[in-house]
Symmetry: C2
Subunit: 372 residues, 2 copies
C-alpha cells in the first residue's frame, strides 16, 4: 500500500516510505556494527537507535573510522523557528545531546529564522523571537551548554555570510534547482539560503581553525542541504559533513507524514500544560475498531496506531511492555482508551521534566546564544 | 555609426549610445529646469552638469518637488571594490559630494566586496581590503565625513541582511533574471545580491526611522539595481529611490565603453605617481593623423579623441579654451602632443591635490566606516 509522498526540507506529506527514501537520497541504512560503536562509546544504546528512529546515515562510518584514528568531530543541527517547539522537533536534539555526551563534541546549532521569514507568513522579529524561545527547548533537550553555541541566522549573519559566500560562489542555480526544486517564482532569498544552511558545517574549521569532521543529526528530509555542503566541501578544502538521519514522529491524527507545528491538534508542544497534552493524546488516531464490541471480537490495528508509534519510538523503553500492548490490542484484550491513558501519563511526565529544564534554561540561554 | 553595445552592471562594452540607453532603460534626460534647480541650491553649476556628464535621471523631479515641500532626501551610492580606484570611479563621488553640500544630505556609501568576491577571481579578505582602500578615495572626493557612512557589505552584513531579507522575499528569480540576465549557471550568491544592493536605499527609513527620500547618483549602468528597489519599495512601505545618472569617462585607449580598472594602461589610478599618470596620458588615443604633415594639412578628429573628452568632461572648465582646442585641432594648428601635455598637466595637478586629501583621509576613514 504505497501512496505518493513528497519529502523535501519544506514539505513532508503522505505516508513516508523510508526504504524508498534511503534509495532515492542515496543514503545508507545504519548498520548493526555502527550502532554498536556508538553504544560502546556512550555506555548505553539510545532508544532511538534500538527502535530504528535514527535509521540511516551518510558517511557516518567514515566519521567513526576517523574518530578511532584520533580525529574528532563536531555536531551541527538546527531548527526553522516558525513557532513553538513540539515533541517531534525534540527528537534530533535529544539524540544530538546523547552523541555530544558520548563523543565530547562541540555543537553548532543554527536557528534558520531567515528561512522562515522568506518562506512563511511570519515577521522577521517574530521569527527571531522564536529562535530565542526554541533555544530553551534545545538546552532543555540536554545539550551541554558549555560545549554548545546556538545562533539565529539573522543575529549572526555577519559571521555566517563570510562562510556562505564561499559556498554560494560555487553553487549554480542549476544545482540548487535540481536539489530543492526551485522555480522561476522562488524568491531570491530562498535561492541563496542553501549556502546559509550549509555554512555551519564549516564553522569549526573556518572560525576556529580546527581540523575536525562534522556530523549532522537530523530528520531525513534535511539531507538535500548537506548534499550541497558535501559537493562543495572539497572545493574549499573542507571535509565533507556526514549525516545521521531520523524518521518523523507522526502527528496525533495519523501516522503519515510528520507532525505539523501549524496544526494545533496533531502536535504536543513542549509548553503545553500537561492537562492540555493529555487531552490531545486522548484524541489521538488509533487502530481501534468502530465499536467496543467489534474491537473485543476482532482486535485492533496497532500497525496504523499513532499511540503505538509514540510508545515505540519515544515513550516506552521496555520491549516486553510494548510487545504486550501490541499483542493485547491484536487480541482485543485492551481498548484504545487504556493505551491512550498510558501514553498520556508518559507524555505528561516527560513534559513536566522538560518544562522544569526549560525554565532553568532561561538563565543560561543568553550565554549559549552567540551574536555578531 | 552604431556598434553593438552591452550595458549591465557587470559589463560595459563597445561604443555606448546614450540616447538609446535612455530609451531602453526608460529613464529621463536631465532637463534644463532640473539642472537650474540644483544650480540655485548649490550656488554654482557643476561642470559635470554643464557638460552633460550627468545626463539622465529617474524621478529626480519628484525628489526635487518633495524637497521644495520640505521632505529631505539622503544620498546613496557605492563601489565594487575589486582593485584600485581610477579617475572614472571618482566622477559619481565628486558629484555626490557636490549634491551633499548643496542639499545637506546624509550619504550611505556601500562597498560591494561581496559582489566582487562572487563575480571575480578575488579573495574575500582582498576585496574587504579594497573596501577600506577605496574608502580613502571616497573621502578624498570631498564627501562630508560627518554626514557620511561607508560600509563594506561583508563587515556590515548583519544589519544589511535584515533589510535585504525584506527585499529578497518579494523578488522572484524570474524578475532578477529579466533584469540582470542571470542564467542557470549564475551562482546563488549573485542571484541574492540584487537584494543586498537595493538595501541601502531603505537604510535611512528602516534604521533611523526617518521619513526621507533617497537619491542615487551613479553611472547609468547601475540603473537595473534601482529598478528592483523601486519595484518593491511600495510593497514594504518605502518611497521609491530616485537616480541621477552619468555617462562613462572613456579609457585612455579609446572612447568606447568605460575605463577598465583591470587594463592598467587605459586608466589613471588615484594612487598613480604623477609621472606615471603623465606617461599614461601621453600614450592616449587621440584623433590625430598618421603624420605631422597630414595633421597640419587636414586637421585632426577631436570627435574620437580621448584627450578632448577628458578635457571636456573633467579637466577643462573654461568653455572658450576648450573650443579653441577643438577648432585648432580641426584646422591642423595644434598637434596631439601639445593637447596631451596640456591634459597631463591638469591630471597631475588633480592627482597631487587628490593624493593630499587621500593621505589626510587615512586619519578619518575608520570613523566614517561603520561595521556591525
Amino acid at each position: 500500500m504505497q501512496k505518493k509522498f513528497i519529502v523535501n526540507p519544506w514539505e513532508v506529506k503522505g505516508d513516508v516510505d523510508y526504504d524508498k527514501l534511503v534509495k532515492e537520497f542515496g543514503v545508507q541504512p545504519l548498520s548493526e556494527e555502527l550502532i554498536k560503536k556508538i553504544e560502546r562509546k556512550a555506555g548505553e544504546m539510545h532508544l532511538y537507535l534500538r527502535r530504528g528512529l535514527f535509521f540511516s546515515h551518510r558517511d557516518f562510518d567514515v566519521i567513526m573510522e576517523d574518530y578511532e584514528k584520533g580525529k574528532e568531530f563536531v555536531l551541527y543541527t538546527g531548527r526553522g523557528p516558525s513557532g513553538k517547539t513540539h515533541l517531534g522537533h525534540l527528537i534530533p536534539w535529544i539524540f544530538t545531546a546523547y552523541l555530544q555526551e558520548a563523543f565530547g563534541s562541540k555543537l553548532y546549532f543554527q536557528m534558520t529564522d531567515d528561512e522562515k521569514f522568506l518562506m512563511r507568513d511570519v515577521g522577521l522579529d517574530e521569527a527571531v523571537g522564536y529562535s530565542h524561545d526554541n533555544a530553551l527547548d534545545v538546552i532543555a533537550a540536554g545539550v551541554d551548554p558549555r560545549k554548545t553555541v546556538i545562533f539565529s541566522d539573522v543575529e549572526y549573519m555577519k559571521t555566517i555570510y563570510r562562510i556562505a559566500l564561499q559556498v554560494a560562489k560555487r553553487v549554480t542555480f542549476s544545482t540548487a534547482k535540481a536539489v530543492f526544486g526551485f522555480t522561476n517564482s522562488s524568491n531570491i532569498g530562498i535561492i541563496f539560503f542553501p549556502a546559509v544552511q550549509a555554512s555551519p558545517a564549516f564553522m569549526a574549521q573556518m572560525l576556529e581553525k580546527r581540523d575536525v569532521n562534522c556530523l549532522i543529526p537530523c530528520a531525513i528530509d534535511q539531507d538535500p542541504y548537506w548534499r550541497i555542503a558535501r559537493d562543495i566541501a572539497p572545493l574549499i578544502g573542507m571535509p565533507k559533513p556526514a549525516g545521521i538521519y531520523s524518521k518523523f514522529l507522526p502527528g496525533l491524527r495519523g501516522v503519515g507524514g510528520k507532525m505539523s507545528a501549524s496544526e494545533e491538534q496533531t502536535a504536543v508542544y513542549t509548553t503545553d500544560p500537561p492537562a492540555l497534552a493529555r487531552k490531545k493524546v486522548m484524541g489521538a488516531f488509533t487502530g481501534g475498531r468502530a465499536t467496543v464490541a467489534e474491537q473485543k471480537e476482532r482486535g485492533g490495528n496497532p500497525e496504523v496506531c499513532v499511540v503505538h508509534q509514540w510508545l515505540y519510538y519515544m515513550f516506552e523503553d521496555d520491549d516486553k511492555k510494548l510487545r504486550k500492548f501490541w499483542d493485547e490490542c491484536k487480541q482485543g484484550k485492551i481498548l484504545c482508551g487504556e493505551c491512550k491513558k498510558y501514553l498520556a501519563d508518559r507524555v505528561c511526565r516527560f513534559l513536566e521534566e522538560h518544562q522544569k529544564r526549560r525554565e532553568k534554561a532561561k538563565k543560561e540561554v543568553e550565554k549559549v546564544m552567540i551574536k555578531d
